[in-house]
Amino acid sequence: MVFNSLKFAAFFVVFFLLYWLIFNRNNKIQNLFFLLGSYVFYCWWDWRFLALIIGSSLVNYLLGIYIDKSENEKRRKFLVLLGLIQGLGGLLFFKYFNFFIDTFISAFSLININLSIHTLNIILPLGISFYTFRAISYLLDIDSGKIKPTTDWVIFFSYIAFFPCLTAGPIDRAKSLIPQLEKKRVFDYSHATDAMRQILWGLFKKVVIADNCATCTNAIFENYKTLPASSLLFGAFYFAIQIYSDFSGYSDMAIGFSRLLGFNVTKNFNFPIFAQNISEFWQKWHISLTSWMTDYVFTPLSFIFRTSGKSGLILSILINFILIGLWHGSNWTFILFGFLQGCYFIPLVLNGTLNRKRVKEGTHLLPSFNEFLRMAGTFTLVMLTVVLFRSETIGQAFSYYQAIISTSLLSAPKIPLDKAVKIVTIIFIIIMIIVEWLQRDKEHGLDIENIKNSFLRLSIYYTIIAVILIFAGQKVTFIYAQF
């Protein structure tokens, strides 16, 4: 049940009405209903994994209470370790088991030892990477004294299975979400209308930009051996835009649906295509994951390597980004993607500009030439690495890179697609970039509360709805829902 489906629309309308009209008398009952809705949403995808998410919630709920109660430091650490083993163990099994087995077999085959270990036909449970990280941060925050555990199991189970963010985040922390579940939600009209705008903008980015880009990307990546280098560069560009509009579109919808239910969820994207260096890019891209990794991986690592100066910092960054890469999927392409992202930080570390406070772009209409160059440079660096994201193997990615480096880079790009699709896609990409640039200091691209003329606002909504209905691309699964 994906957000851009009729099934979800029907589900959400019914859920919304019952949530606010019937179950809002009592917070406990409303939470119980929310939990039930989350499980219905989860079962719609695959009911067999319901036990897994319930089991994981129960273990972490109990561990949270015991960690807090325990005064013995060793016992506390043991309980935290138990939680990590449970969470990461599940993740390793479902997401990485076959990858490790294959890597193991390949490594041994290099020294002429042929192992006959069978891989398993494992289905990746929906949202496991997201809810596992939510549970881990909960335990670690209790251990470090940042939060107190909740003793209300309904609240904790709802936090883990929080359905608007279950499929692909944002990965909200207990510190921000649990207090919201604890207090009674009140319907706020302006909040709800803005949430609708955010959903509409997210839907536009997903259905019009990402899905049309997917058509172009597929046409190029499937025929990259026969196309000129300029087309392949376009392929990388289309995919970079596709992945951005797919994931940020999804996040806008997830945040919008949460807001309609009275929750404020972490902003996951802050217009990263306008980032002026790679450090800023990662502060604006998949913010909830980056901040999670910063708090629980990078900060402890940089503490461990604190005596090694810049090389320690570089090592921490590289490990952090390799793990970010690996989080995305069990493939060497993701690991290399993470490694390259980490490498991009090295010049910033070496010239001491890593922590330099970013000069906020002004509210001026156009960026300065220098700003523009920095934005284009950062985007190009990211664009080149996303080829790894799209490739099935490192070999395929390298052969794609190899094909880009040729004299045909200067020839006119040829994309084996209908001209109309190419034109429509490019036009809407430009529109999206312009709108997001103009709205870059707002919460989302369609934050138009400041337009007081209701007729104009309504015209904008209808125009976007018409564009979605008319130019929707062929339906493609959310990329991050596969992680």
């Binding site: 009405l17 606010w20 209308t193």
Partner: protein, 313 residues
């Protein structure tokens, strides 16, 4: 506050969108298409039908019932999988009073594929809407004719029919697909073999195989009860397809079909994959015949059926 919000959303957005959807759905459903036509034809004529052909595109473009001497009809559709073959057959089974032969064009991927898991899954709605199939009755996307297309293509289809008279009926009155004609053959059609072979190469799925085998067995059993001969037919293919085919997949499938023909006395297996009687001009692409090839194949089948007799041995 809440009621104001709900009213605004309903009046300004939901009602206009619903009205638009109803108008589109009504308009699209009135456009004649293959599914509507074949269901109607079978509803009216299945009583005196003698040869029925089912299957996917290789059957749809490969068998032209016009050239059978007995009364025949082609109820194949693009990407039609075994579960839908069984559905169509069962739907009209009570009225098949004269049916003697059921021709089932199969490929090396028939037993390990399904419409539901293919790229052509959007065709499922046609079985729900026009054939009344219940497989996906409660899934909205498979019950709406306009769903799956964007508004631009829906409007093009509607204006194409209502303004220019372009129907979506792409078969002749015998159900044979007319789109793959010799005149439309692309210049680099020979390359299509590699792509088609790649497309037909499937990860072996035991579950899907068992399901399809069970559908096929049900078809055979029902046919046996009514003295209908089932012809499992592998249609001719061009060398560029055959050279790139997954041999392991092909061999195991052929073995299954042969086994079925040996085990069931109302089943015949005809393998024409590499039939040298079919030349370049008979193919539309590497795994589909054009109208000349379809005529040739149908005439060959017509002669073959005579030698098979019309009752179970």
């Amino acid at each position: 506050m809440l009621s104001r919000f709900i009213k605004k959303v309903v009046y300004l957005f939901i009602i206009p969108v619903l009205i638009l959807c109803i108008v589109l759905e009504y308009s699209i459903r009135r456009i004649p298409n293959d599914y509507y036509y074949k269901n109607k034809w079978l509803s009216e004529n299945s009583g005196n039908l003698q040869i029925l052909s089912l299957g996917a595109s290789n059957g749809y473009f490969g068998i032209n019932p016009e050239f059978f001497t007995k009364k025949a009809f082609n109820a194949a559709h693009i990407s039609q999988s075994m579960n839908y073959d069984l559905f169509i057959f069962n739907k009209f089974l009570p009225s098949f009073d004269s049916l003697q032969y059921l021709i089932l064009p199969v490929t090396e991927s028939t037993l390990i594929s399904s419409l539901e898991t293919s790229d052509e899954f959007w065709r499922i709605k046609n079985y729900t809407i026009y054939y009344g199939c219940e497989y996906h009755r409660f899934e909205p996307q498979y019950n709406l004719a306009f769903y799956g297309d964007n508004l631009f293509s829906v409007l093009s289809r509607i204006s194409g029919y209502y303004l220019h008279g372009n129907s979506e009926l792409y078969c002749n009155k015998f159900g044979f697909g007319l789109n793959y004609s010799f005149s439309k053959k692309s210049k680099d059609w020979e390359r299509s073999g590699i792509l088609a072979a790649r497309r037909h190469k499937k990860e072996s799925s035991g579950k899907l195989f068992n399901e399809n085998l069970s559908y096929l067995n049900q078809l055979i059993e029902e046919c046996h009860k009514k003295d209908i001969v089932v012809v499992l037919l592998i249609t001719p293919a061009w060398h560029s397809y055959l050279d790139n085919i997954d041999i392991k997949q092909l061999e195991s499938t052929l073995l299954t079909y042969k086994h079925m023909a040996e085990e069931n006395n109302n089943v015949r297996f005809i393998d024409m994959h590499n039939d040298k009687r079919f030349r370049e001009k008979d193919f539309f692409d590497a795994d589909h015949l054009d109208e000349f090839g379809a005529k040739k194949l149908t005439l060959i089948l017509n002669d073959t059926l005579k030698t098979l007799g019309n009752t179970n041995p």
